[in-house]
Each structure stands twice: as structure tokens, then as C-alpha cells.
């Protein structure tokens, strides 16, 4: 029995009220959901709470899950929107965060990486993580969500638009600014990535 069949069976049992089957679904999907949510909220405790709330909401709304999309896609929709909402409520936007409204391709050259380094010098995985984390932290939550859904989960522009409840044009704009900002932040890093 493959993963999809297993998931379908677990979903059917869950719909009939089998909490143990739903527990297995939680075990199957918790890591993927957490990875995305953590990148948006940047806090392990908040991420854990959001993942927990996501599964509880999913359980209560199982009757409305029509199966047209993958269960993971549905979970991402719940968790991503909750994560963006939480960030907005907490007003975690850093003071030096780039404003996507004021970006132009020509302006890219005015932003400089925070820690210039010599090209060709190898760096370890911890340093890569620190730099990626720092660059992600400088994006706004909606940009982070869009970027992670595209680059980590591999969703299409249209799927991201559906999951985050915005138009494809908005997804394109968020993705463009997120990518440009990440590239500017990590420009001195290209040779090591």
C-alpha cells in the first residue's frame, strides 16, 4: 500500500471519528507543516502552537475537506494563513525590513549584504543557516510564506494564490520581491551555496 492509499484510508477512518487514525495523519504531516510555519513566524514556540491549532482546526473541518486537493495542501492553507495572521497581530516587522512597494530593479544595487566575505572561501552549514535565517527575517511574513511555499514545498503560483487567498498577480509580486531581497542579502555567498 503506497503513501497516498495509506493517507486516504486514514482520512476515511478519521471522518468516521477515529481519533487514532487522525493521530497517525498528524505524525505523517507535522514535520512538513512545521518547516513552513517556522520559516514564517521565526519562533519555535509559536510555530508549534500554530501546527497544533492547524491539526485541531483540520479535525473539526474534516467534513468540509472534499478531497479535490491533497490533504497536505489543505493543511498548508490553514497553517500559512494562521501564521501570517499571527505575525501581523504581533507586528513583528523589523524596522529595517524592505518595503516591497519601494523596490525597483535599479534599486537592488543600493542594498548591500550585512556580512561581506571573501569569495571562494568555503563556509560551513551553520554559517549558511545563519545567513539564510537572517535574510528570511528581513522579509515580511507574506513574502516569507510565498517564498517557502514555492521553494520548499514546490507549489505552483496558482496553488500559492489559492492557499494564501490572494491573486496570482500578488503572489508574483511577493515572490519577485522576496527573491530579489534574498539575492541581495546573499550575493556574497553565491559561491558557497
Amino acid at each position: 500500500m503506497d503513501d497516498e492509499q495509506t493517507e486516504r484510508l486514514l482520512l476515511e477512518r478519521s471522518r468516521r471519528g477515529d481519533t487514532q487514525a487522525f493521530g497517525e495523519l498528524v505524525t505523517l504531516h507535522r514535520q512538513r507543516i512545521y518547516a513552513v510555519v517556522y520559516q514564517i513566524v521565526r519562533d519555535p514556540d509559536d510555530a508549534l502552537d500554530l501546527v497544533q491549532d492547524t491539526f485541531i482546526k483540520a479535525w473539526r473541518s474534516l467534513a468540509s475537506f472534499d478531497g479535490r486537493h491533497k490533504f497536505t495542501t489543505w493543511l498548508h492553507r490553514i497553517s500559512t494563513n494562521a501564521a501570517i495572521d499571527l505575525c501581523r497581530k504581533k507586528q513583528r516587522r523589523p524596522q529595517d525590513e524592505w518595503d516591497e512597494q519601494h523596490f525597483s530593479p535599479d534599486a537592488a544595487s543600493h542594498t548591500t549584504p550585512s556580512a561581506p566575505r571573501m569569495p571562494g572561501v568555503s563556509i560551513d552549514e551553520d554559517e549558511i543557516r545563519r545567513r539564510i535565517d537572517a535574510a528570511m527575517a528581513r522579509l515580511n511574513p507574506a513574502q516569507r510564506a510565498t517564498l517557502v511555499l514555492r521553494e520548499v514545498e514546490g507549489f505552483s503560483y496558482e496553488e500559492i494564490a489559492e492557499q494564501t487567498g490572494v491573486s496570482t498577480g500578488t503572489v508574483m509580486s511577493r515572490l519577485f520581491h522576496a527573491r530579489r531581497n534574498m539575492q541581495n542579502e546573499l550575493k556574497d555567498f553565491y559561491g558557497s551555496l
Binding site: Y34, Q52, I56, W59, P105, M136, L147, E151, G169, R179
Partner: protein, 159 residues
């Protein structure tokens, strides 16, 4: 939708045909030309970092979710006075119904012969002297009943 942003994303994601990509690259500012080869490294590193974030207290998460979704028995509230009255009335009605059914069906009075001896013979022998013969449940017996007679006359024999 901003056309440049749309094309830039499609170009970076390798979704353009070769001639379309070539035309787009000609229109790009020089400092963006290196974005495409560079992005694959950033994208890979981002995916690697994101996927390496593991769920803290993963089992705790599952048990918390299960605790939240598992239905619990409704808490019992203290009985009201009205409820107590109705419960008492119901108990009484049940007891009455049970008694009405049980008494005639289960309890049967013993037969008269089982505790009353049958009088076989009653004989008045003299004034103040009578002899009654009974058949008891187990054996035959005789009682001599005297009233005002100090002794039974010698001529009389009780048979």
C-alpha cells in the same frame, strides 16, 4: 499584474521557452543577469535549512492534538430538587408496581390443613366434660377438655 515581475519569476523558475528567455535576458538590467544561476544555490540552501527544522516535542504535539479532539464524557452536574422529587416518585411507582405483581404471584398463603388440625370427633361425656379428637398435620391426637369437672369419671374411657 506587473509584467516584469511575472516574467522574472517565470525566467528564474525556468518556465520560459529558449527564445522567450533570450529576449527577456536582453531586457534585463546587467546586475540581474546573474540572478538565475545564483538563485538555484539560494533556493537549494533555503530548502535545506527549512527542512532541517525539526518539530520540537513531536510526540507531545501528537498527544496534545489527540487530547483536544478526543470526546470526553459530559461532566455530571448536581441533581436539582425537581429531579430528586421525580426520582423519588418514580421509585415509589416502581415499588408499587413490583408489589402488585409480586404479592399475588410469588407469595401464596399456606393451605388451611397445614396448620389447622381437623376435628375428627367431638363428644360430650358429661356436663362440663367433653372430648375432642383432632387430626393434626402429622399425627392423630386427642384433647380432653373439661369445664368445672375435677376428675374424669372412672366409668368413662376415652377412646
Amino acid at each position: 499584474m506587473d509584467r516584469f515581475e511575472h516574467d522574472y519569476n517565470r525566467w528564474l523558475d525556468g518556465m520560459m521557452e529558449a527564445d522567450e528567455a533570450e529576449a527577456f535576458e536582453k531586457s534585463l538590467p546587467p546586475d540581474l543577469l546573474d540572478d538565475k544561476p545564483a538563485w538555484s544555490g539560494v533556493s537549494g540552501a533555503l530548502a535545506r535549512v527549512a527542512k532541517s527544522e525539526t518539530v520540537p516535542h513531536a510526540d507531545f504535539l501528537v498527544s496534545n492534538v489527540l487530547a483536544s479532539i478526543t470526546p470526553t464524557a459530559p461532566r455530571r452536574s448536581a441533581p436539582s430538587l425537581f429531579g430528586l422529587v421525580w426520582a423519588g416518585a418514580a421509585c415509589l411507582a416502581m415499588a408499587a408496581g413490583l408489589a402488585a405483581w409480586w404479592l399475588p404471584n410469588v407469595y401464596q398463603a399456606p393451605a388451611r390443613d397445614s396448620f389447622v388440625s381437623r376435628v375428627l370427633k367431638a363428644e360430650a361425656m358429661a356436663p362440663g366434660l367433653a372430648v375432642y379428637t383432632f387430626q393434626g398435620p402429622d399425627e392423630r391426637s386427642a384433647i380432653i377438655w373439661t369445664e368445672g369437672v375435677p376428675a374424669i369419671p372412672a366409668a368413662r374411657k376415652v377412646q
